[in-house]
């Protein structure tokens, strides 16, 4: 539906370098990356607000590289919602209809329906400056879908909301994606939002697309150390394959041996990615288990965060384990005590370097 063919453009300090990606109809596509990576520039390029210096952009099978934004039929919602301060809520929602020449009576009917659908009919005559963040966001969404786009671009729409409103809004977005048959492209630097919403995603770092694909694959089996680090894999270890027995490899990491599943041949440099919640922690020397990787260590830090806790263990290298806070209390885990960590070979994602 949207295709970037080796697109490059620069805009002040932001730039995109040779980006190729394709977004399919019905995708909930996430563009993630650290601040200043060029995510918003990419989103605005889809909307037609920046013209690439090189490469082509295709929309619905046709090249639209030079097509102006008002002719693309793409909705856009910014992080700050960008409501028109000089117009009421109803004026904002009906703006697209007005400039497209929809008759007044019809536009009013459409606007009334949208206000009701988004639960903002009581705000119709208010000005944006008097609305809360959540209300502004619903107005911005209603305004964007009023012109019935088939693609909706969202630029970090959740970042300015409090946690409670965020949860509600995630539900709204899921419903919108489902009910309106929309292709949604959302820029975010939140891995959590990507986990909850994305069907496919791209990772952009320093203006370059470093990973793209199904969201679960990118999030659980990243293609590079850089991506693994960005998407928040807690334990990333560099090592060398010492033996491979039909896909069951032995990897040396700083003198400690790990077993993992990979096709990497002996002598190959690899990076092991181990999610903190895939590591099992036991007190003392531990028990015999089916896990292929077991190591002893000493707790160096326990950080409680709501119902969960991160436990950092020194076992020759520092590994992070995620437990429930109740487990931490039941096992009386404090810095200094000895523990055993175990990880299944299947829980280790191997990146070949």
């Amino acid at each position: 539906m949207i295709e970037f063919d080796r697109v490059s453009l620069s805009l002040g300090s932001f730039s995109l370098n040779d980006v190729s990606l394709s977004i399919n109809r019905g995708d909930y596509y996430f563009i993630v990356g650290p601040s200043g990576a060029g995510k918003t520039v990419l989103l605005e390029a889809i909307a037609g607000l920046h013209r690439p210096e090189r490469g082509r952009i295709l929309l619905r099978g046709e090249e639209i590289t030079a097509l102006s934004p008002d002719k693309r039929g793409i909705g856009l919602v910014y992080q700050d919602y960008s409501l028109f301060p000089s117009m009421t809520v109803a004026g904002n929602v009906g703006y697209g209809l007005r400039v497209r020449g929809v008759r007044k009576a019809e536009a009013q009917r459409e606007v009334a329906g949208l206000l009701e659908r988004f639960g903002i009919d009581h705000l119709a005559d208010r000005y944006p400056g008097t609305l809360s963040g959540g209300e502004q966001q619903r107005v911005a969404l209603a305004r964007a879908v009023a012109v019935k786009p088939d693609i909706l671009l969202l630029d970090e729409p959740l970042s300015a909301l409090d946690p409670v409103t965020q949860e509600k809004f995630i539900g709204d977005l899921q419903r919108l994606h489902r009910e309106d048959d929309l292709t949604i492209v959302q820029v975010s630097h939140s891995r959590r939002e990507a986990h909850l919403l994305a069907t496919r995603m791209a990772v952009i770092i320093d203006g370059a697309l470093v990973d793209e694909g199904r969201a679960d694959v990118v999030l659980n089996a990243p293609g590079s150390r850089q991506v693994a680090s960005f998407i928040g894999i807690e334990n990333i270890l560099d090592g060398t394959v010492t033996a491979n027995d039909g896909g069951h490899a032995t990897v040396d990491v700083g003198g400690r041996t790990f077993e993992a599943l990979t096709d990497a041949a002996a002598g190959e440099e690899v990076t092991l990615c181990i999610r903190a919640d895939d590591v099992v922690l036991a007190l003392g020397d531990g028990r015999r288990s089916s896990a292929r990787n077991t190591m002893t260590g000493t707790i160096v830090q326990v950080v409680e965060n709501g119902p969960i806790a991160e436990v950092r263990v020194n076992s020759g290298m520092e590994l992070t384990v995620v437990l429930t806070r109740r487990s931490v209390r039941d096992l009386s885990l404090v810095p200094g005590i000895s523990v055993t960590l175990s990880v299944k070979a299947t829980a280790i994602h191997v990146i070949r370097r």
């Binding site: 008002d70 960008s82 703006y95 400039v99």
Partner: protein, 293 residues
């Protein structure tokens, strides 16, 4: 009575004995920074007030003469001509200066943009006589623009168009710079959203950007108008006649002496003050969209 009236002051704790008002006042915190700022500001305002009081005391001592001057057709005509010519210059500035200000506000920094900005500012830094000379040389009957325009019947020397064009020249930076500042304050995101909703560039400008810049347009127009109606040297070079206020005062000063020119000046002060005060009152809420304030 005074002490009783202050006994409910929120600064007074419960059960405290009532203090005389002057002692209570001393207990309040004094923000000396603000006090000094007020004193320094008052000195500046004071000079203007003193100057006006000075002229007022002299003029009000002879109200008959003042009234005679104020009601003379020459003064009324001159005041009207000045205000109308100034408004005319401002209208032209709105028409031509607004697009220029928008382009300057939205274009990326470049050497070319810097040059254009400097050209816009030239009337600000030039001595007014030089500005007048520039206008005269360009619009005189043999000037680059004056010659072709006089052929189609538009003459500038000692004519109303000459007054307008001189006012426009000296007032333009005030309008363009204020307007540009206003456009810069309108977030580009608003325009981007309008574009994606189906509005073309001009529709976006007309429906989104311009309404949000009205306060700046108004401020720029008032500044430019004020500058235009106060111009003397720039105007006198190309259009000594018809008399605008400043040329009339100069003429009166050189022919009739201080007495009449002072009366005209006082009339102008009163009229200008009334007009500007009225304009400010009328546009207090212009461009404000938050209904909480």
């Amino acid at each position: 009575m005074k002490t009783e009236a202050l006994s409910g002051d929120i600064l007074q704790g419960e059960g405290e004995v009532s203090l005389p008002w002057w002692r209570q006042r001393r207990r309040q915190h004094i923000d000396w920074c603000t006090v000094w700022f007020c004193i320094m500001g008052a000195a500046l305002v004071g000079i203007t007030v003193l100057a006006i009081a000075n002229i007022a005391s002299a003029e009000l001592a002879d109200p008959a003469h003042l009234l005679e001057v104020a009601l003379s057709s020459e003064v009324i005509g001159s005041v009207l001509l000045t205000f109308v010519a100034g408004a005319n210059a401002v209208l032209l500035l709105i028409l031509f200066g607004t697009p220029l200000a928008y382009v300057l506000a939205r274009s990326r920094p470049s050497r070319f943009k810097g040059v254009v900005e400097s050209i816009v500012d030239i009337p600000l830094i030039l001595p007014h006589t030089v500005a007048g000379l520039l206008v005269y040389l360009l619009f005189m009957r043999r000037g680059w623009l004056g010659a072709p325009l006089s052929e189609i019947g538009l003459s500038f020397e000692d004519a109303y168009p000459g007054t307008v064009v001189a006012m426009l020249f000296v007032a333009s930076p005030f309008f363009v710079n204020t307007m540009r500042e206003g456009f810069e304050k309108v977030p580009v995101h608003l325009e981007n959203v309008a574009r994606t909703l189906g509005a073309g560039t001009f529709t976006t400008f007309r429906t989104v950007t311009l309404p949000l810049s009205l306060r700046h347009m108004y401020s720029g127009a008032v500044l430019a108008w004020g500058r235009a109606i106060g111009e003397f040297a720039g105007v006198i070079m190309i259009a000594y006649y018809p008399f605008i206020i400043s040329t009339l005062i100069y003429y009166s000063f050189t022919t009739d002496g201080i007495h009449t020119s002072r009366s005209i000046a006082f009339v102008v002060i009163l009229v200008s003050f009334a007009v500007f005060y009225l304009l400010r009152r009328m546009t207090r809420y212009l461009g404000r969209y938050d209904d909480r304030v």
